[in-house]
């Protein structure tokens, strides 16, 4: 039997991070006297400590131990739950996360911060210790002053099988005070009958310590159900203690010999395995550079999938198998009169495949609470930092979203929430003066709408002052002073890069710190963002995202002999070209007059260097697309069907291609490229600049020649 502990490390890490989240949520909701919450926080910390100890993450164990001690005091009611302590605990949770992440990636961590927090913790604990000693001094009088305990520990034979090791327990006990161990070997069977995995020993321990009984019992917490444990306090009798001591020295000698020889029979297996299992790991460490190791770790993610989803998947596969066997039976001796059964079978197959596809997609869907979880903490911290009272209301956290989208939407959401807290919510005094409740409310809401998910970030703050934004935009030269804009057009100005620096925006009551980045990130996910606001009442940012990045609604177009897919979301309109509206301006740049706009025309065949018969613009169709606020008309030969396509990466076996965001497989099995509209616009701009450069160089050469 060989147990490679390292294989459990990923699940330990996963559970630890979950535990940390649980602690954080618990701490944020912690009210004095709420024992249930304290217990759950304590349990989370305790499991992290236990796990970290098993896997040898000593930093984590040590630090968590401090946290645990503080929590323990709160749990036992020896310490009142104060805001100050909660803050320290919250900071400690951050530290623990830091430490565990450092252990995971095998990198150094911010030692100064950890040291600072652990000093804070020790200080807090020290305070408590002195006060509690004073407090308990009276109660200690009537108790016999416990100078130690006799512990009788008779584990069940199967103890070692459950992963518990008495050695760990004893070393934990030894930390509490002076420990002497006597192993009882009476039950040890003859060598032939020994099962190496069974534990036959029992122990008599004497612990000289000042700690309380509860702390000792806590050490045995994990094995409580699997052993007989008797604790008797040693009466502080000098005569007794004398004999105790004499006995103790005997025992020490015995203990040091006996466990070495006999106890090892039971535990050696486990110990050697640990040693063995560690060695290959180290070899690997030397082979691979650390960078590669961390990278590999970062890339491999795992998701937890509900059993119901897996069950439905299995059901569907079952149905698929039935359909398949039906079809193959039909195929063995097929005659024309069975054609009807064949068509119905194929229809069934189509149905099965579709459902299967949906089911598989659903596996990647996670409730958005994974992304929302960090916001209570964020708002809590912001409230302290800004000195404004505010609360966070979360709705629709069970709404499901693709994992990849979730990972990428986190940062933009943080930005929006921070903005709402920073600029949206007014200070307490202003709120009261305006007749609003003192406490500001920020709400996060997620819901499905069509094939999209909508996330709303709403605050009941000051709202956006349209006039100020407008003036600012004029000042920046983004719009004309005389321009007439709708409200939403004005709010869209907030996402202009010019509005992005904090100093400029905090002057006005609006917002806009890095909003252009937020918008770009959301657009990169194929989504869009809208702003609604009413002055004095608050504003709402509405983020509209596709449910998944793996499937896209596309318009198939034909250029020459190739088929391309344009993402439907970026298409503004498709039109037949009217010759009269084509203008060639400023040196052969082709513009198409679309109502009031002049849209530059991009011939795809030129950009992608393709052969096509449709080189004349008046024969072609124009698909007007928009990206980054720039409209362009893509010249295509023909419009084909609209359909959902599954996005496949070109990078896996090839590399990123400019102007192409990926590929897909069409119904006939052929591959079609998906156009990357922003990329294409960028390409066209670059190409134009290059052409200009070449032309200019040509000109300078020409003039030089003339001069000569």
């Amino acid at each position: 039997m060989s147990v490679d502990l390292s294989q459990f490390i990923p699940s330990f890490l996963e559970e630890s991070f979950e535990g940390l989240e649980l602690m954080e949520t618990g701490l944020l909701n912690l009210q004095p006297g709420d024992n249930e919450t304290i217990h759950s926080i304590f349990r989370a910390a305790h499991s992290i400590k236990g796990g970290a100890g098993t896997f040898g993450f000593e930093n984590v164990t040590e630090f968590t131990h401090l946290v645990e001690t503080l929590l323990d005091e709160m749990r036992d009611g020896r310490r009142d739950i104060t805001n100050k302590d909660t803050e320290i605990l919250l900071e400690s949770v951050d530290c623990m996360r830091l430490l565990i992440e450092a252990a995971r990636d095998d990198v150094d961590y911010d030692q100064a911060k950890v040291a600072q927090i652990s000093a804070l913790l020790s200080e807090t604990l020290g305070d408590e210790q002195s006060s509690s000693n004073e407090g308990e001094a009276s109660s200690n009088i009537d108790k016999p002053k416990g100078s130690g305990y006799h512990i009788k520990f008779v584990p069940e034979h199967s103890l070692a099988k459950t992963g518990n090791d008495p050695l760990f327990l004893f070393s934990a006990l030894a930390e509490l005070g002076e420990l002497t161990i006597f192993a009882n070997t009476q039950e040890l069977p003859a060598l032939m009958d020994i099962d190496a995995q069974e534990l036959y020993l029992s122990w008599q321990l004497t612990l000289h310590t000042e700690v309380e009984e509860a702390e000792i019992i806590e050490i045995f917490e994990w094995v409580e159900d699997e052993c007989l444990l008797e604790l008797t306090a040693i009466n502080d009798n000098s005569a007794d203690s004398g004999t105790d001591k004499a006995q103790a020295t005997d025992e020490v000698e015995q203990a040091s010999q006996q466990p070495d020889t006999q106890q090892t029979a039971a535990t050696e297996a486990v110990v050697t395995e640990q040693v063995v299992s560690k060695q290959p790991e180290q070899v690997i460490d030397e082979d691979n550079s650390k960078v590669a190791k961390t990278k590999a770790k970062a890339e491999v993610g795992s998701i937890r999938v509900g059993v119901d989803k897996v069950d439905s998947l299995i059901n569907l596969v079952g149905e698929l198998v039935i359909t398949q066997s039906m079809l193959s039976e039909l195929g063995t001796d097929f005659e024309m009169d069975k054609v009807e059964r064949l068509t119905s079978g194929l229809e069934q197959l189509l149905q099965n495949t579709k459902e299967l596809q949906e089911s598989v997609m659903r596996i990647r869907m996670l409730p958005i609470s994974f992304a929302f979880n960090r916001f209570p903490r964020l708002v809590h911290d912001l409230a302290i930092k800004t000195g404004k009272a505010m609360e966070l209301v979360i709705k629709g956290e069970q709404t499901e979203l693709d994992k990849t989208v979730m990972e990428q939407i986190g940062d933009p959401l943080v930005h929006l929430v921070r903005n709402a807290a920073d600029h949206g919510i007014e200070s307490n005094e202003i709120r009261l003066a305006n007749g609003k409740p003192e406490k500001g409310t920020i709400s996060l809401d997620a819901y499905h709408q069509g094939g999209n998910i909508v996330i709303e970030i709403n605050d009941d703050g000051a709202g956006i002052n349209r006039a100020v934004v407008f003036d600012k935009a004029v000042e920046k030269g983004l719009i004309d002073a005389g321009a007439t804009l709708t409200d939403s057009q004005v709010y869209d100005l907030l996402f202009e890069p010019g509005f992005s620096t904090a100093a400029e925006v905090t002057d006005i009551s609006g917002r806009g710190v890095g909003m252009d980045v937020v918008k770009r990130n959301i657009q990169a996910l194929g989504g869009r963002i809208q702003v609604e606001s009413s002055l004095g009442k608050g504003s709402t940012f509405k983020v509209n995202l596709p449910l998944t990045l793996a499937i896209l609604d596309g318009q198939l177009v034909k250029v020459g002999s190739e088929t391309y897919i344009i993402p439907l979301i970026s298409i503004v309109e498709s039109l037949q070209i009217d010759n009269k509206l084509i203008n060639r301006v400023s040196g052969d740049m082709v513009l198409y007059r679309l109502r009031n706009d002049n849209v530059p025309v991009l011939p795809i065949y030129q950009l992608f260097d393709l052969a096509t018969e449709c080189t004349e613009i008046h024969n072609a169709l124009l698909v007007v697309v928009e990206a980054d606020g720039q409209k362009v008309g893509l010249m295509v030969d023909d419009l084909l069907a609209q359909q959902q396509v599954v996005i496949k990466s070109l990078k896996d076996n090839y590399q990123q291609v400019a102007g192409i965001s990926g590929a897909t497989i069409l119904g006939d099995g052929s591959v079609a490229m998906i156009l990357d509209i922003p990329g294409m616009i960028h390409m066209a701009l670059e190409k134009a600049q290059q052409a200009q450069l070449v032309k200019n160089n040509g000109n300078t050469n020409a003039t030089a020649e003339v001069c000569l």
């Binding site: 590669a292 260097d609 496949k648 076996n653 490229m673």
Partner: protein
């Protein structure tokens, strides 16, 4: 046509013995193929499959030797014409033109690419001592692509380095 009956006729090692066929192998096995009149070989363990030529979907602005991508059971596989890449012979696409799909597992990832060749010829068993270094006297194929030469009867076969073949050069995306 009964496929099952056909499948039963295919000899399986240890089950049937067929005269003249030697199942016992020693050394490494290489798949040899033709580019124009020259023989080349790749490690057979890298060969994913051999396909007949089909017109791939073009990749915009790719170099001429990258013919495009095809769909291989749901995986997008780029197709490289080795004759164009090495400038050997003419790049004509006939019924005998085949694509050898190679998968190479490097440290961080595996890459699957199809290579167009004129024809697939044989499988060779080669002891590593028989592989001789290629003299560096030019030739169209860069030395980094060549692992060595082996003599097969009266011909010389060039063993290609799959790891190097699989490297997609960062080409200028639009010239």
């Amino acid at each position: 046509m009964n496929i099952q009956a056909m499948a039963e006729d295919i000899p399986v090692e240890g089950e049937h013995s067929i005269e003249g066929v030697d199942f016992i192998t020693s050394g490494d096995q290489y798949l040899t193929f033709l580019l124009a009149q020259e023989q080349y070989a790749v490690d057979i363990l890298c060969v994913e499959e051999i396909r007949s030529w089909e017109r791939p979907t073009k990749i915009p602005n790719a170099p001429s030797y990258i013919k495009g991508v095809i769909n291989m059971r749901g995986i997008i596989v780029p197709i490289v014409d080795l004759r164009l890449k090495f400038s050997i012979g003419e790049a004509s696409y006939l019924e005998t033109t085949v694509v050898i799909v190679l998968t190479y597992q490097s440290e961080d990832k595996s890459r699957t690419i199809g290579f167009v060749v004129d024809a697939v010829s044989d499988v060779l068993n080669v002891e590593s001592v028989d592989i001789k270094p290629a003299p560096a006297f030019g030739g169209c194929v860069g030395p980094q692509y060549i692992d060595g030469l082996i003599n097969s009867e009266h011909k010389v076969v060039t063993i290609l380095n799959v790891a190097h073949l699989q490297k997609v050069e960062k080409h200028r995306l639009h010239s």
